[in-house]
Amino acid sequence: MKSIKKLVKTLAATVLLTTALAAPTFAQNAIFHSGQASANSARAAGHALAAIGKTAVTVVAVPFKAVGAIGVLSDKTGDALLEAGTAPLEIGDEYATAGPSPDAALAGGSEQ
């Protein structure tokens, strides 16, 4: 009987310890989280996507008033653009990805 009690106590302690150890891991993985994984995998994906896509070197946000200037819309200017038309904005066909991280680019590992 004594040995059974000892076993129960040991198991109870193990349960508590296991729960305590498991909980932080769970919380870390499950709670909202911005994306260390994303940064890692984005780079990995960048290399994989290079086989089917192209690397971007610069990205410039299209100003609202310049939408017409790049051929998406014409004869309209300003903020009314968003409400004025129904035609979709143009999207390029290439599968472009961002370049490597700045440190990798500086180190010369920029080919993707």
Binding site: L11, V15, A22, P24, I31, A56, A61, I91
Partner: protein, 280 residues
């Protein structure tokens, strides 16, 4: 007595298996579920979904975790701004598409973050599901967001001190959702003053209540550098894509909120019913 022993044995096994399961999905990257071609195709479909709605700026979310590992009411793990852009390619050609402006946790220093501009395939590379949460702000808010994102204010609103469970009601620590809310508040209220941004968030925004007890979260903070509790009281509160969507719907800041799943677009209710909002 033997029944108790059996019961404890079962619980012990479950505990170990939980630890083992969650360990698989920790810091090593996304679940390797999708082919590169699938991610590229899905990324392009998200861009077309935005373009067909003539969107200049949208909030877009992806889920980088197994759905089973997410707390109740959380469906996405990362959110950033998609901005209609001219993309110059390495071969000298240019094309239009969406650039994603993000706060990412640093790889080498997980308790710090960095602002990164990447493209749709990069944004969705870490996805565990081929789905995207999309919030399209009203045109006047899109214009204001564009002004902020393309200004130095965007960087001034970034706090690199990172916590995965950052409290959005103060500026001590920050995660991606808090950063998105800061930028959105700056646009809505035409302010760059962080005190004003936080005051408005405390008054109008209902965050997500983390459904874990104090001891559990403190143990998590003890063993993970990117989980901190010093910016919290109790209960622990943080911003999620769902609470941001609900806030923007409630105050009529959007033209549309939808979820894009592979090839099918599924509208979601304006009020998100699966969120835990009992702290209100």
């Amino acid at each position: 007595m033997m029944q108790l022993v059996r019961c404890l044995l079962v619980i012990t096994c479950l505990g170990f298996s939980q630890a083992g399961f969650t360990g698989i999905g920790s810091q090593s990257g996304p679940l390797a579920v999708f082919k590169t071609e699938d991610i590229a195709r899905f990324s392009k479909s998200v861009e077309h979904a935005l373009a067909s709605r003539r969107t200049m700026v949208a909030l877009v979310a992806r889920n980088g975790r197994s759905p089973d590992a997410l707390p109740p009411g959380v469906n996405y793990t990362h959110v950033g701004f998609a901005v209609y852009s001219v993309i110059q390619l390495k071969d000298g050609t240019t094309q239009q598409g969406y650039a994603f402006h993000n706060l990412y946790q640093q790889e080498e220093q997980p308790d710090r973050s960095v602002l990164v501009t990447d493209l749709a395939p990069d944004f969705f590379a870490a996805t565990a599901e081929l789905k995207a949460g999309v919030i399209i702000p009203k045109p006047e808010l899109q214009r204001k967001l564009w002004d902020i994102i393309t200004s130095k204010t965007f960087h001034q609103l970034h706090n690199p001190e990172y916590s995965a469970i950052a409290n959005p009601f103060n500026s001590e620590l920050q995660n991606c959702t808090e950063f998105v809310m800061n930028v959105t508040q700056a646009a809505i209220y035409d302010t760059t003053q962080i005190q004003a941004i936080k005051a408005n968030l405390r008054k109008w925004f209902s965050p997500y209540r983390i459904p874990y007890g104090k001891t559990t979260v403190q143990l998590a903070a003890f063993s993970n550098v990117d989980i901190k509790t010093e910016d919290h009281g109790y209960p622990y509160l943080t911003a999620t894509y769902g609470t941001i969507a609900e806030y923007m719907a409630e105050y009529e800041l959007v033209t549309e909120i939808f979820e894009l799943r592979d090839d099918a677009t599924l509208p979601i209710p304006q009020r998100v019913p699966d969120l835990i909002l009992d702290m209100r």
